[in-house]
């Protein structure tokens, strides 16, 4: 069925398809069609049809991060997963949920909250962001310090390969070492290996209490305070810092969850100094700055001081976790392409000297080295060649032009 123009009629059989408009462009590349599959089989049908006609495909969830990563080399079909929006199975007694890729994080959270459970990811824009998009473009949120990232919570996945093959790995039990873990491979693949159709996650019981310990802190004290918090037996779930003005004050907030949160929060306060213990997070907690330009830095804890200095030196706003070794940076003002490229390379030099890595998640231009040197790149290329020999899945959108 095709609506809004007949050009695609028959190409995708029974799958709902419409003509693409300007709003459907991915980083300026306008597809010809938008396909809206409703089942795994329909995804497979679309991808088979694309394979036969050598059409390039970009999968889309809520579209909140479609402008991250470079523009695709080509894009004929935007595969919109919004109709795959069913929570398939919530086995509360097993602390497991299986959902289709298009389910929004907000809808999933609501379903789980009914049983006092949660998926321990902190996804901003949860109203729009989907399960599939969160897996394909995952960023560690604050609580990754305790629970790990999306790849650590994913226990099973159904994917559709560019030739239409439907493949599963993992399952619906947490403990499972049978076969290769395709979920790991597809998590963070930015749509370049195939389409994530369904995912199964392990869940956590919703903590009965939460407390945030919030303090303003001199930047120089952050490394020592963060180290003390990370080592604390009061077990914070997250520690985040926020410094919107590169030359301005820095706020640190630590989260404790579970029982006895107030007492444990007070224990943490002793490590920090003057601080407030509150039942509410600070307004910036787990939020993104604007993301026209967004840079991610990962680093070992011992590199904290160097990263804070480098960010300030490069005039970048900073938010993220000194205990998990991950911050997001954003330029304080608009930079042109050359300025941005210079800022990134200056930052990268300092960060890499401290054992860290710099990735540019979002940038409106081409002339920036987004990823720097990637040790496993030749192997990654070989993986891409095996999964997508025709280079039809989000071509050019990932490391090394994969």
């Amino acid at each position: 069925m095709v609506t809004g123009g007949l050009e695609g009629a028959g190409v995708f059989g029974e799958v709902t398809t419409r003509q693409a408009g300007d709003d459907d462009a991915v980083c300026g590349v306008r597809p010809r069609w938008v396909a809206l599959p409703e089942t795994v089989e329909e995804i497979a049908a679309v991808l088979r049809a694309c394979a036969e006609r050598d059409l390039a495909v970009v999968p889309a969830g809520g579209g909140t991060k479609l402008h991250w990563a470079p523009p695709p080399e080509r894009c004929d079909v935007l595969l919109d997963l919004c109709c795959m929006n069913e929570v398939l199975e919530h086995a509360a007694g097993d602390l497991v949920v299986r959902a289709q890729a298009g389910v929004t994080i907000a809808a999933l959270s609501a379903a789980l909250a009914g049983e006092g459970q949660e998926l321990a990811l902190d996804v901003p824009f949860g109203e729009d962001a989907t399960v599939g998009g969160t897996l394909a473009a995952p960023l560690p949120g604050p609580r990754a310090f305790r629970y790990g990232t999306a790849r650590d919570l994913l226990i099973g996945i159904t994917v559709v390969l560019p030739d239409g093959t439907v493949a599963r790995s993992g399952g619906k039990v947490v403990k499972n070492v049978a076969g290769y873990d395709l979920g790991k491979l597809f998590t963070g693949s930015y749509g370049t290996l195939g389409v994530i159709a369904e995912a199964t996650f392990r869940l956590h019981p919703m903590p009965p209490e939460r407390r945030w310990v919030v303090a303003e802190l001199g930047g120089a004290r952050v490394p020592a305070v963060a180290a003390a918090l990370a080592a604390s037996q009061a077990e914070p779930s997250a520690v985040e810092v926020d410094r919107p003005d590169p030359a301005g004050p820095l706020t640190l907030a630590a989260l404790v969850e579970g029982t006895a949160a107030q007492t444990r929060g007070e224990t943490l306060r002793e490590l920090i100094g003057p601080a407030e213990v509150s039942g509410e997070p600070p307004s910036w907690w787990g939020q993104v700055f604007g993301d026209d330009v967004l840079v991610e830095v990962r680093f070992p804890a011992s590199g904290t001081a160097a990263v804070l200095d480098a960010a300030a030196g490069c005039g970048l706003s900073l938010r993220g976790s000194p205990v998990a070794g991950r911050v997001l940076l954003e330029p304080g003002r608009e930079l042109d392409e050359d300025e941005l490229a210079a800022t990134v390379s200056g930052l990268r030099e300092k960060v890499e000297a401290a054992g860290g890595r710099v990735s540019v998640l979002a940038a409106p231009c081409q002339g920036v080295d987004r990823w720097g040197h990637v040790s496993g790149l030749p192997l990654m290329r070989r993986v891409k060649e095996r999964f997508d020999p025709g280079r039809r899945m989000s071509p050019g959108r990932f490391v090394g032009g994969i």
Binding site: R151, D152, K172, V177, E235, R264, L379
Partner: protein
């Protein structure tokens, strides 16, 4: 093989190449002793560079290679090839770096799991994954098997605790896979690949801060059903203990005979529950736990580390202990959703009665990971076969209930024939894509994990006649 051996000798120190048949035989099996093969040659490299050179040589000669750590694997993963090289990591045992500021340690693959914890314990840290074999098994083997332990219910598996691996790829390149790097999560794909995607030569692990409080509880129930209900109630109450282990009457009897663990007499099942974390939280959860376990006829709480060790002693000795009550046994490893435990245990009972084969049940109840010990008398003709049938039927049960054929021991040679029951041909073909990307020649631990490996150039779906790998003797048809 002779020219290969000569070439190996020219690459490695003289005492690193073993060809003496008597010494070769000490490597003929891992912990799963009924699969045996004498390796063509054994090498004991001392450095990553040496491992890489050996692997490159294997490529030049088109000869398969198998990695081996401590040989405690229970699925035949380290089973050697008679026509191949066995690469043993026992000379790569250095802890290269311990950095508590970064909460990580960098170790060589032959380092034992427990050695890492021992290196940092007095400073209040530990390495979380704790397989029962932790005194002996190597961290390289743990990476290959994605090993877990009793405490993985709360803390996860090896894959959740490894930050980076230096690997020798199947074509002999040294590559570092780091969680910090952008790009595909090849580290995640490598961990648990059972030596089929290359050899880990350096591993960076995450260290955890020791918890403030640990409370270990032994609860004795009249029946396994009551024990199972308690497990569900604990999870239902929103408690995530560090561990929940269960043993049935037969397993208790064995442990009693072997190590005199003095578990409460007359118990149909015992539950070991370990709570850990901030003291205030553990205290609160313990109060909840006491209430939940009200059906238990005895509840013991360990007051100190010695008493904790006493509670764990029976559980940790369980595998070996069944040797006291049965001349022979099969250790099975399967997983079911926790809520299916009662149905599956009842079905195992029925299987046991039907085939006249006793089954002792020991399991990680918290995550539904069963370790049924299938007991038989190898002097009794036919008993071994009946035990095999029961053991296999248990895996069928796991699959039927949406579980897995292995929770921690891996597929190896032992379970590759069950893979097609758990996964479709398309699933397996897709996994082969990963294999072919890493190992186009099919030289890294061939014949393990996957039933009939396809050659990497082959088109899926068209299998005719004898498989070329089988014909050339590189693989066995299963």
């Amino acid at each position: 093989m002779d020219t290969l051996i000569a070439a190996l000798r020219s690459l490695l120190p003289h005492d690193s190449v073993i060809t003496d048949p008597v010494r070769l035989r000490t490597y003929e099996c891992d912990g799963l002793t009924y699969h045996r093969a004498t390796p063509g040659v054994v090498v004991l490299p001392g450095t990553a560079e040496q491992v890489a050179r050996v692997v490159r040589l294997c490529n030049d000669f088109g000869v398969p290679f198998v990695a081996r750590g401590s040989g405690t694997g229970l699925s035949g993963g380290a089973l050697p090839r008679e026509d191949g090289v066995l690469i043993v990591t026992s000379r790569m045992r250095a802890i290269l770096e311990v950095d508590l500021a970064d909460r990580r340690a960098v170790v060589e693959p032959g380092v034992t799991n427990l050695a890492i914890t021992e290196a940092v314990r007095d400073r209040g840290y530990y390495y979380a994954p704790d397989p029962s074999s932790q005194q002996i098994c190597s961290i390289g083997g743990n990476v290959a098997e994605n090993s877990g332990g009793a405490h993985c219910l709360k803390y996860g598996f090896t894959v959740n605790h490894v930050e980076a691996c230096e690997i020798v790829t199947p074509d002999g390149d040294l590559v570092t896979l780091d969680r910090m790097d952008p790009g595909y999560d090849l580290l995640g794909a490598f961990i648990g690949s059972e030596g089929t995607l290359g050899i880990a030569t350096k591993i960076t692990v995450r260290l955890c801060r020791a918890p403030e409080a640990v409370t270990t509880v032994l609860a004795a129930f009249e029946s396994i059903e009551q024990g199972g209900q308690a497990v569900s109630a604990i999870i239902g109450a929103g408690i995530v203990p560090a561990a929940i282990e269960m043993m049935d009457a037969l397993a208790i009897e064995a442990a009693e005979a072997a190590v005199a663990c003095s578990y409460p007499e007359g118990a149909g099942a015992v539950l070991i529950v370990e709570l850990d974390g901030p003291a205030a939280e553990v205290e609160r959860q313990f109060a909840q736990l006491e209430e939940i376990c009200s059906a238990a006829f005895e509840l013991r709480v360990a007051a100190d580390p010695a008493e904790r060790a006493a509670i764990w002693k029976g559980r940790k000795s369980a595998f070996a202990a069944v040797g006291r009550i049965s001349p022979a046994y099969i250790v099975q490893d399967g997983v079911v959703p926790r809520t299916s435990l009662p149905a599956v245990l009842a079905a195992i009972d029925r299987l046991s009665a039907e085939h006249d084969i006793k089954v002792a049940n020991v399991f990680h109840a918290g995550d539904g990971n069963l370790h049924p010990l299938v007991l038989f008398d190898d002097g009794d003709p036919g008993a071994g076969e009946r035990a095999e049938v029961v053991s296999g039927a248990i895996l069928d049960l796991c699959i039927e209930h949406g579980g897995s054929i292995t929770g921690e021991h891996g597929v190896g040679v032992d379970k590759s024939r069950y893979m097609p029951k758990m996964f479709s041909a398309d699933d397996l073909d897709t996994m082969q894509l990963v294999r072919c990307a890493f190992d186009p020649q099919g030289l890294a631990n061939p014949g393990k994990v996957f039933p009939t490996p396809r050659l990497c150039g082959e088109v899926p779906g068209v299998r005719k006649g004898v498989h070329p790998l089988v014909e050339s003797g590189k693989a066995d048809q299963l």
